[in-house]
Each structure stands twice: as structure tokens, then as C-alpha cells.
């Protein structure tokens, strides 16, 4: 027999379904929610409900949005001739924070992952090709992570786009700002030298 009442057990089980949350953490979170004032707990429930009801994919860039097209795709100040291809909305937010890019985005929602059964059809690649075919795009920046899967996805996209009359570029990989050069690994240093620019 469980020490917790059924309603609390249900909450623990549901919280335990979240990524990175084990049984103990789920129980700790459930007990914390139980101790909260009713208003706060209801606000949490409402925000979960709201997220499921209002958030959808932008039909252009496939990031999460409440309005379609999303704020970035609808912004007339942003250039339409450059698309930055990212793995997920989190990467898009990181690039946005840097303020280094003023074009549009395209979210793939993953990278090629043969062992997880994720192939080109599972990613938003066809949609990217359709956007490019529309004719406004002059440059596609491949900003997938510099991991094996991210690089392979970038190579795959570069291959697909080689016959299109657009510039296909890859974000540079190299020495992080503020680090001591000698503490970087060989592969990072090699890539940094390959991606060197004129001073």
C-alpha cells in the first residue's frame, strides 16, 4: 500500500514523465506544489493548459509561436534573403540573444540520427526546400551543432542545396572567446585554423 493518496500519486507519476525527472524528484516537486497556495498551483495548471491550447508551429519557420506567422517571420525589418537553419527553437533563441543575425530562421526539429530512426523525412527539410524554391532566399546559414550528428546533417543539407543558386554557408567552429589557446583540444584548434579569416 502506498503512503501517498491517489491524487498525489497521479501528480508524481505525471511529473515523473518529464525528461530528467526521476521518481524521487517527481515526489519532491509534487510535495512542493501541494504546499503552495491554491492560486499559485492553479496558475501552474492553467499555464500548462494554455501552452497546449495556444502554442503551435509557425507555418514558415516551424518555431513555436502563438500567432502564425511568428513575430520573427512577420517582422518587416528583418531581411528575407538569409535563412539560418537551426536544430531546435532553443538554438534559435541563443542566436537571437547574440543579436548577430537579422534574417529569418528555419527550425529542423532535430538532426539526422540513424540509431533513433530519425531520417531526412522526420525533419523539416522538405519545408526548407520549399522556402528556398520560393526564390527570395540568397543565403542559407547552416547552424546545426558541431557534433557528429549536427555536422552530418549540415553536410546532408549542403549536398541537397548544392544545385540551388544560393550561397550555403556553415557557422564557424573554433576557439571560444576568453579561453587560453593551449587548453583547447586538437580538433577545435584544427577547425579554428580551417575557418580562419583575414585579420
Amino acid at each position: 500500500m502506498s503512503v501517498f493518496p491517489p491524487a498525489l500519486l497521479r501528480l508524481i507519476r505525471n511529473l515523473g514523465n518529464l525528461p530528467g525527472i526521476g521518481e524521487k524528484t517527481a515526489a519532491r516537486l509534487a510535495l512542493a506544489i501541494l504546499r503552495w497556495p491554491e492560486v499559485r498551483a492553479k496558475e501552474l495548471a492553467q499555464s500548462i493548459d494554455e501552452v497546449k491550447e495556444k502554442i503551435r508551429f509557425c507555418s514558415t519557420c516551424f518555431s513555436f509561436t502563438e500567432t502564425d506567422p511568428c513575430a520573427i517571420c512577420a517582422d518587416p525589418k528583418r531581411t528575407t534573403d538569409a535563412i539560418c537553419v537551426v536544430e531546435d527553437p532553443g538554438d534559435m533563441m541563443a542566436i537571437e540573444k547574440s543579436s548577430g543575425f537579422k534574417g529569418r530562421y528555419h527550425v529542423l526539429h532535430g538532426v539526422l540520427s540513424p540509431m533513433d530512426g530519425v531520417g531526412p523525412d522526420e525533419l523539416k527539410i522538405k519545408e526548407l526546400l520549399l522556402r528556398i524554391k520560393s526564390g527570395q532566399v540568397k543565403e542559407v546559414i547552416l547552424a546545426t551543432s558541431p557534433t557528429v550528428a549536427g555536422e552530418a546533417t549540415a553536410a546532408y543539407l549542403a549536398g541537397l542545396l548544392q544545385n540551388e543558386y544560393i550561397a550555403v554557408t556553415r557557422i564557424a567552429c573554433g576557439v571560444p572567446m576568453g579561453t587560453d589557446l593551449k587548453y583547447n583540444d586538437e580538433m577545435t584548434l584544427r577547425r579554428a585554423l580551417e575557418a580562419r579569416t583575414k585579420a
Binding site: 540513424p114 531520417g119 579561453t179 583547447n184 577545435t188
Partner: protein, 254 residues
Amino acid sequence: MPLHKTPAIILNHKDFGESDKIITLFTYSLGKITSIAKGAKRSRKRFANQLDLFSFVRPILWEKQHSSLTRIDQCDLLQPFASIRKVPERFAYAAYFCELVDAWVKDRDPHAELFHLLLWALRMVDHGASLAPLSVIFHLRLLTIVGYAPNFIACVTCNLWKGGQVFYSFNYEKGGIVCSDCAFNLPLKNRLSPGTVKLLSLAQKTSLAKLSRLHFSAQPLAESAPILENFVHSLLGKEIKSYRFLSRSHECIR
């Protein structure tokens, strides 16, 4: 808490929690083990580029009492196979080879020969070897190492070697060739020409160092690849997701 330092190949990894990673390693001395790398997603100091797929590494592993999960504290990168990531087809084959090994081996069952085979195959993929013949050789050697070596010496039904045959067939149940006299009820698609049988027999025996000298032309490849793939998959009895990816993506990648 025992400490291990052993060469290993990274078969797979998954994100765990905010910043950790769960790594499946095929180690030389401990076999396949699962390990947690705390802070691997964030720390640039400890694991920069070292815990990525297919990398040949030397990790320091801590064993916890009453837990099958080891902990990686430090890792030396021995070979990153940097060219695999540059060509999608190489990436797909490397993933397929790693998944096959992952599916074949049990946890904590050291297998030095299989370790050398996978390392050799990843090196060949990285060096840009022809992938279809490499895949045939990999299947063949994998079967030989795990004890299911296909019989290319004599007919598995009559136990006789009959030279001068126009074709042989492959019997999946008995795991070997069948002469044309005994092959009356076997499907036509299981056929192997005498030249292919000879080449496969040679590929079974040749040392890894000399294997790259073997030349597979289009006919032996077309005949042997589907048979060996089906044989491996039927013995495994489970789906290899990378194979589905390979088959589906072949057209797009090529």
C-alpha cells in the same frame, strides 16, 4: 569503488537531465557498458569533443557499488574519426556498424576481436573506403566472430564440395551454401555465383590488415550484400533502426 582505464568506442549517447549524458561504450577490457558523464553537455574543460558518437577514446571509469551505471570522470580522445561527420553516407554506415555491435554484444562481456573489427571498420569509413564492400566484409566478419560463420566450404545439405557448379544458394536456417542439386526448393534470390562464394570464403579468412586489398566487383556485391544483411538481421531477431535509415536514405545520400 574500482577504477578502470580502458580503450573504448562510443556506440551511442543520450542527453540526461539538464547537463549530463548517458554514454554507451564498447570497451576493450570490460565489454559494453553504460556510463554517466556528469556535466558533459556544459563542461568544455572535461569532455570537449571527447564524448561524441563513434569516437575512439580512453575514459577513466568509476564503478559504483550496487549500480550497473559507471561514471566517466575523465576521457582522452584517441581518434575522433573527423571525416565520418563530413559525409552523410559515411555517418549512416558508421551508425549502422555501431548499432549492429550494440545489438550483438551483451553488457560487460568483453570481446577483443569484435572491438578490433569495429575499430577497423570505423577507420576504413573515416579513410573513405568503398562503403558497400566494407559493409559486406563487416557482416561476414561479425558473423564469424560471434560464432555464426557462414559455411562457404561445402554444401550444408549434402556436406560435399561440388566444384564446377553454375550457382550455389544460401540456406539461412543452416547458415551456408547449398549446391544446385540440393537447392531445388530455395528461392532464386538466394543465389551466389562460384566467384562470389570464393571471394566470401577468402574474406572470412584474410587478416583485417589485408582485407582492404580484396576487390568486390558489382556482381559479388549485389549477390552477397542482401544475403548477409538478411542473415545477420534474422539471427538478431530485432530491428536495426540505422539499417532502415540506410535503405531509405540511400537514394537521397547518393
